[in-house]
Subunit: 180 residues, 2 copies
């Protein structure tokens, strides 16, 4: 849960990162940015800035922001109502993002699980995305990602997004942002 | 048909427009840019720079460039193999783009049909997209678009792209770029 003023502050921080990345958004769009704290109330540690450009029954595009070392927690996108789960491509636009997926554990990963939440980070194969780099995730694949030392701006191209259906490894997480 | 050296030159012009827009692409990606002349051999008049980021069975994202007053010619995306046609969102990132769709004819449109090809431009409802503006097209909708005075960079978010299935109003057009 976040206070209204904290939520507004984090919306502005996301808009500022988009600006740094050279991404133009409208004033109307800025007001729709979600500063997602995943219900943990530790936004700087576990959180994500999200601007949804378009989300139809068939496809979706978003712009994402991460503060320095901020983590989008481990989750997967299951099949919903007989449809295959969300397929998504992350493309780094600015800064650096460390993405973790199933596979051989990276020996010395750049990222660190958020403090006190280490048990809920189970995939450790690291993919480093610098500006211009991208990675496509198949449906139902566990993943999490973390901003580099300056944070990151990431474009997401995907099939229909149903955030409420996402399955997080950490049972304390609730995807839908609640404002106090 | 385009000569190899002309094609390379136009790939570089597209890469330069992406750079102006603050969009970072890799060297490997730059080499995959399509400078599409739609088979007319009049690239500066009828043409489009295209970088495909991802195109799977389910979704697609591209970066497009238009030179000043350059036109992507009128076409639509039909249903293919029992699947609904391509649904696409154009988002202007840099410059300005004038998009034409079915509806009430705009009295004094900014755009002009390419010289000698006027008969093949039949939809004249104008949508002006400045940076941060976007528009979503339903499948099978006739549309064409033209760069503004400085050209444009446009992100396209869509369902699966099957360029070879596109239906153009101008019967002389062939979508797949041929290099001499």
């Amino acid at each position: 849960m976040m206070s209204r003023s904290e939520f507004r502050k984090q919306q502005q921080a996301t808009a500022a990162l988009f600006k740094k990345a050279g991404i133009v958004i409208t004033k109307k769009e800025a007001a729709t940015i979600d500063a997602a704290d995943f219900g943990l109330g530790e936004f700087a540690q576990t959180g994500l800035g999200v601007l949804v450009y378009v989300n139809t029954a068939r496809c979706c595009a978003k712009e994402l922001s991460l503060l320095p070392r901020q983590t989008c927690p481990e989750h997967r996108h299951p099949n919903v109502a007989g449809e295959p789960g969300k397929e998504e491509t992350f493309r780094c636009r600015w800064g650096r993002v460390h993405l973790y997926v199933p596979g051989k554990k990276t020996a010395r990963p750049h990222g660190k699980a958020p403090k006190g939440r280490e048990d809920h980070y189970t995939v450790w194969h690291e993919v480093v995305l610098n500006p211009g780099d991208q990675y496509t995730l198949q449906p139902n694949t566990l993943h999490w990602f973390q901003g580099g030392p300056r944070g990151a701006v990431v474009s997401e191209f995907s099939t229909r997004s149903r955030d409420e259906a996402d399955i997080f490894t950490d049972p304390e997480i609730a995807r839908v942002t609640k404002i106090r």
